[in-house]
């Protein structure tokens, strides 16, 4: 299926991109993160990253569907 991915902060730097569209067989955010992490050598393990789909936080094992926009949220540090 086709997904949009947006990258922020550490992940944006490690991917070298702010966003991309890709084809994947990953069914969940965790599977997608593992796939991308292996490809681009992300340093944060999957359990340190939250996922958002279409602008809302979702569970790590939520079902992805074609056309979704996925964002991985590294540990936050506002304030």
């Amino acid at each position: 299926m086709k997904l949009q991915i947006q990258y922020f902060a550490l992940l944006r730097e490690q991917r070298g991109l702010s966003d991309e569209t890709l084809e994947t067989t990953a069914a969940t955010p965790t599977e997608l993160y593992e796939e991308l992490g292996a490809q681009y050598a992300f340093t944060l393990p999957a359990d340190r990253v939250r996922a958002a789909v279409n602008g809302e936080f979702v569970a790590a094992d939520a079902k992805l569907k074609t056309g979704d926009t996925v964002v991985f949220i590294p540990p936050v540090a506002g304030g």
Partner: protein
């Protein structure tokens, strides 16, 4: 109102949105960029946000504060971009009929914003190195941020 802004935060104009004849207390919090963190001299910071989700989650926090405390108005503005030492990074203002709710509500908002809103901080150090805060994968920083 929760907002992410890329320009300097204008406190004076934000304050006019707080005027309220029912309010007897106003508590504000200013988060400033300081020149050190965990023993290292800091020269500057970059803040980055995922603006859509930051504003959704930020407004959710304000709604929670409103449910928990007897508040009138709540405003929180967080800046993004390149900031220098002494710059204002975040401003929270809470009004209430009485001071207790205003103090508690302001504390709740800033604590939850720091813990939950998708905003990231990159510190630039005097020795030329830089680091995304809470994103270390080894050492004490990794253990601490894992528990948050």
């Amino acid at each position: 109102m929760f907002k992410i802004v890329s320009e300097p935060i204008e406190i004076e104009s934000l304050k006019t949105t707080l005027e309220d004849a029912q309010a007897g207390a106003c508590v504000t919090f200013e988060g400033w960029v300081r020149n050190h963190n965990e023993g290292k001299p800091v020269q500057a910071l970059d803040y980055e946000a995922y603006p859509e989700l930051a504003e959704t989650e930020g407004n959710r926090i304000l709604a929670e504060a409103r449910e928990r405390f007897a508040l009138q108005t709540i405003v929180c503005v967080h800046r993004t971009g390149a900031l220098q030492i002494g710059d204002l990074a975040v401003w929270v203002a809470v009004t209430a009929a009485h001071r207790g709710g205003a103090f508690d509500g302001c504390r709740y908002v800033i604590d939850e914003v720091k813990a939950r809103v998708p905003i990231w901080k990159k510190e630039h150090y005097a020795d030329g190195a830089s680091e995304w805060i809470n994103c270390a994968t080894r050492g004490a920083g990794a253990e601490i941020s894992k528990k948050v």
